[in-house]
């Protein structure tokens, strides 16, 4: 069903907020999927390389599904939304646009993100917008593996040697502040919660995520840094305030398409 037909998105005041929220979901998956794909051919072993490349494809596949629904409300094809927007129109969290760095940072980031994504999808399952609730339920199936992959790698890095533990702790300390931004709201997200489109508020989701990642980190022998409130250095991807890393990423990601705009493949 076209999302524009749902009673909730026929309310003018909610339509824009819902479209923004869908873009945030889609952009998160696209940008992290792209970052994951940059590991193809470079991961520490062939097994992890194949597995992460597969995860990358799945994240980009999920982005496509969210772009389709965002397109119902905003107009435009998924390709237009993925390749045709300027950086400030993107709603992904800043953490996800950061370069891959070392394997420890990439693993830590995917662990923190996939947990957040699980909490977020849970907030859509059982919600009143049927096509989104069903979609969230379907995606959770594949996300289960992403959670497993990140967590198992994280546990091994935390347990292997003092050096690997120290590095993965440093990756955590470095990612923590921007990870909080995963739960920063898009414009008028509060209205969506009040209307029941999302079952839990972003602060409640952030607390839930905090509890879950905190427990796993602790059991892996890592220290979760204390709660961080402020946003890092004025960046907030949910309202389009991105780092230069996103511009660089998009320039590369869209370079082929821009050589022949409108070409049919």
């Amino acid at each position: 069903m076209n999302l524009a037909q749902s009673p909730l998105s026929r309310r003018d005041d909610l339509r824009a907020a819902l479209a923004g929220y869908l873009l945030a979901l889609a952009d998160d998956e696209l940008i992290l999927g792209h970052r994951h794909s940059e590991w193809t051919g470079f991961a520490p072993d062939i097994e992890s390389d194949v597995a992460l490349s597969s995860v990358a494809q799945e994240e980009i596949g999920h982005a496509l599904l969210f772009y389709e629904r965002a397109g119902d409300l905003l107009g435009g094809t998924p390709d237009d939304l993925a390749y045709g927007r300027s950086p400030e129109a993107f709603r992904n969290a800043v953490l996800l646009e950061r370069p891959n760095g070392d394997w420890d940072f990439s693993i830590m980031r995917t662990f923190l993100y996939d947990r957040a994504d699980a909490v977020r999808l849970d907030g859509l399952v059982g919600g009143p917008v049927e096509s989104l609730a069903d979609l969230a339920k379907t995606l959770r199936r594949e996300e289960k593996y992403h959670l497993l992959y990140g967590e198992q790698w994280l546990r091994r890095l935390a347990a292997a040697t003092p050096q690997s533990k120290q590095r993965v702790q440093a990756a955590l300390d470095g990612a923590w502040a921007e990870a909080q931004g995963l739960f920063d709201p898009v414009e008028d997200q509060d209205d969506l919660v009040q209307a029941g489109a999302i079952r839990t508020g972003f602060d409640a989701q952030r607390r839930l995520w905090h509890g879950q990642v905190g427990a796993i980190l602790e059991s892996a022998g890592l220290r979760a840094p204390g709660a961080v409130t402020g946003r890092s250095a004025g960046f907030d991807g949910r309202v389009g305030r991105h780092t230069d890393d996103l511009r660089v990423l998009l320039e590369e990601m869209t370079s082929v398409r821009r050589t022949e705009p409108g070409a049919k493949w």
Partner: protein, 110 residues
């Protein structure tokens, strides 16, 4: 009986980090050896095996077994499998053909 790792010229240390992977296509199929993964332990081997061996084929279950746990016959002794007299009456070609047909059917019914 030799250990497989000896036949392959591996040390215990190497063989304990290589896991043989067995995939079951449907609940009515046997687990079939499909390859190996390198992993620190069995749990990680299962995580990695899922994407190496179950993303292009149907799968309901995976087993992983450290190579260091596998005993094997030696290739030098392969003649023990060669009959000295004509045993063609025993060959089970039709069973293999039947299995080929039935497996395809089971997959379709999945």
């Amino acid at each position: 009986m030799p250990a497989l790792m000896e036949l392959l010229g591996m040390t215990q240390q190497q063989a304990s980090h290589i896991y043989a992977v067995f995939r079951q296509d449907t609940k009515n199929d046997p687990h079939v050896h499909v390859g190996e993964v390198h992993a620190t332990d069995a749990e990680m081997a299962l995580v990695l095996a899922k994407e190496q061996f179950a993303r292009r084929e149907p799968c309901v279950n995976l087993w992983v077994v450290p190579m260091s746990a596998i005993a094997a016959t030696a290739y030098d002794d392969a003649d023990v499998f060669e009959p000295s007299t004509d045993k063609s009456y025993r060959f089970g070609g039709s069973y293999r053909e039947q299995e080929r047909v039935m497996r395809a059917k089971r997959r379709d019914q999945r």
